[in-house]
Amino acid sequence: MAETVTVTGNERPKKKKKEHEFILTAKKLLKNKLAVIGLIIIILQVGMAIFAPMMTSHDPVKQNLAASELPIFSEGHWLGTDNYGRDVWSRIVFGSRISLVVGIVAVSLGLLGGVTLGLLGGYYKKLDGIIMRIVDLLFSFPGILLAMLIIAVLGTSLINVAIAISIWSIPACARIVRGSVLSIKEKEYIMAMKSVGASDLRIMFKHILPNCFAPIIVFATMRMATAILSTAALSYLGLGAQPPTPEWGAMISQGQAFMWSSPHLTIIPGIAIMLTVFAFNVVGDGLRDAIDPNMDV
């Protein structure tokens, strides 16, 4: 591509246009085999969540007591049925909607709050004391108890579960971001930006934040896993998904009573959770390496 740009009189031939940042990152990510596997799993799950009605022949909540506790590979129910005769495959497929949405919403909200607090606390020494004490306060509650408290105030619903989990994620995220900010803000390039007159906001968001991405991404993907597990835990306690809503955690807790007679009721949703957690972790790792310009994969 031989584009030319006119420069006050003299012409300057432009070399082949550099690829866009995003494409470069994507290319780097695709070279990482493990990340590709994780990406495929996530894409499959998203597809599963979107096209759920087309992938199942059974209603996930319709009971059929005549066909309860069918083992896997039964006719018409390849993953069997639960104690109410509901198709496990349908419940897994529809459950992915809830798990993914709650996970993504919870992590995004948690990051939004945590990154903001962490940046402000790390950058402004005066705010640091106040913000970190608030964070300590949030930390002092056991996670599940805090989530229960929030849900008790907001009422039982899946969105409130997401909010509760996000609030629970804020302190850890704020701490991690603050730590990185504290070390990065002492770097000479931050001093250099100050010396050319860059504003605080510019320094925080253009120079400090991008250099904190590595720990933030790792945190986000790990938290994604925790969020799904916490949703399951809250559902187990009766605060998350209400029966008969299909939700992986709720499925495990309901299947627990039949561990010995029908182990697939706990194992299959367990595998679903595990695969999701694994996929998000490896993609997160790959992403962290891909966005680091110092890493040539």
Partner: protein, 341 residues
């Protein structure tokens, strides 16, 4: 005292226009301790420093690590808040300015940093890093900025294709050139070089110094050249300021200071310059002891704990900052007395 060479005299008479005047600046870092984080004392990084910098000159600032050279530079630029003192730049007071007014002065005063590996954001392409300076200070279009930056890269001896690279793809010398490009891009009149070449190889040092000289001639720049390398200072600077423990110890033209050092500390520093020679071994002055704790500086002359010619007077009285020759200042009760004797 020292007789000025013709060249020197000419230089002085031509460049007598004061660009920057620093009067009695102090920078203390409070030491906090105890349960309530009360201030328990101060680290006196810069103590009562006054100096003048003329237009178009290079002023070297030398001294051991921790003597307050870098802090002095940062304080002048406003990167460190002053504890006390006054800074006049082009006849205007610039300390404690409001943000908006400060931006105007920032255009005039720039800094080149010590570590070329740490002074560039590792996640920013260097083209974008340089463009950002224009984004802050001008409202050029994206195209104008890009073209200016490409010209700038050439000016400091880099190539156009370097525009899209990340800092880690450059060598130390090239990175320092980028740092220089960032410092000169707003057409400043004064640049502080904070150990700008200390992190570089000797051959690269020479190239970078040459570039700095070329730019100085082209844009009538004044430099404040902070360094601990006396050889480089002798080659590069017109005048030299020697600092010890946050105090100014001696100030004079390169000729005067290197040939007729007045202060015993300067004499000791000069004797430490390695010189290849076949003549008889020169006597080397070795300073005993360590730099005193700047949080608890010795009374009287700050140098008396290590000074080979210190007497009782030095322990009690702080020596005055006095002019001993034309533009040759020192702070010593026994200025000019050789410590070799």
């Amino acid at each position: 005292m020292a007789v000025l060479t013709e060249h020197e005299a000419e230089k002085l008479s031509n460049h007598k226009q004061v660009l920057l005047e620093v009067t009695g600046i102090r920078k203390y870092y409070p030491i906090r301790g105890g349960v309530l984080q009360r201030v328990q004392g101060n680290v006196k990084a810069v103590e009562n420093v006054s100096l003048q910098l003329y237009e178009g000159e290079s002023l070297g600032v030398v001294g051991e690590s921790g003597c307050g050279k870098s802090t002095l530079g940062k304080a002048i630029l406003g990167l460190e808040e002053l504890t006390d003192g006054k800074i006049m730049f082009k006849g205007k007071e610039i300390q404690n300015l409001k943000k908006k007014e400060k931006l105007k002065f920032i255009k005039e005063m720039q800094m080149i940093f010590q570590d070329p590996f740490a002074s560039l954001n590792p996640r920013q392409r260097i083209g974008h890093a340089l463009e950002e300076v224009f984004t802050i200070h001008t409202n050029m279009s994206a195209k104008e900025k890009k073209n200016t930056v490409l010209d700038l890269l050439k000016e400091v001896g880099l190539k156009e294709e370097h525009y899209d690279r990340y800092p880690h793809e450059f060598s130390g010398g090239q990175r320092q050139r980028i740092g220089i490009a960032r410092a000169i891009c707003l057409n400043p009149s004064f640049i502080i070089c904070d150990e700008a070449v200390s992190a570089l190889d000797v051959s690269v040092q020479a190239q970078v110094l040459k570039l700095l000289k070329t730019l100085q001639a082209k844009y009538q720049l004044s430099y404040m050249f902070i360094s601990h390398d006396l050889g480089v200072v002798r080659y590069f600077c017109d005048r030299v300021l020697v600092m010890y423990l946050g105090h100014t110890v001696e100030l004079g033209s390169v000729e005067d200071l290197f040939n007729h050092p007045l202060h015993p500390y300067t004499q000791a520093l000069l004797s430490a310059i390695p010189r290849p020679t076949v003549q008889k071994k020169r006597k080397r002055i070795r300073l005993e002891g360590d730099l005193p704790n700047p949080a608890d500086p010795p009374g009287g002359c700050p140098f008396h704990t290590r000074c080979p010619i210190a007497q009782d007077k030095c322990k009690q009285e702080k020596p005055e900052w006095k002019e001993y020759g034309s533009d040759h200042f020192a702070a010593c009760h026994f200025a000019g007395q050789s410590i070799l004797a």
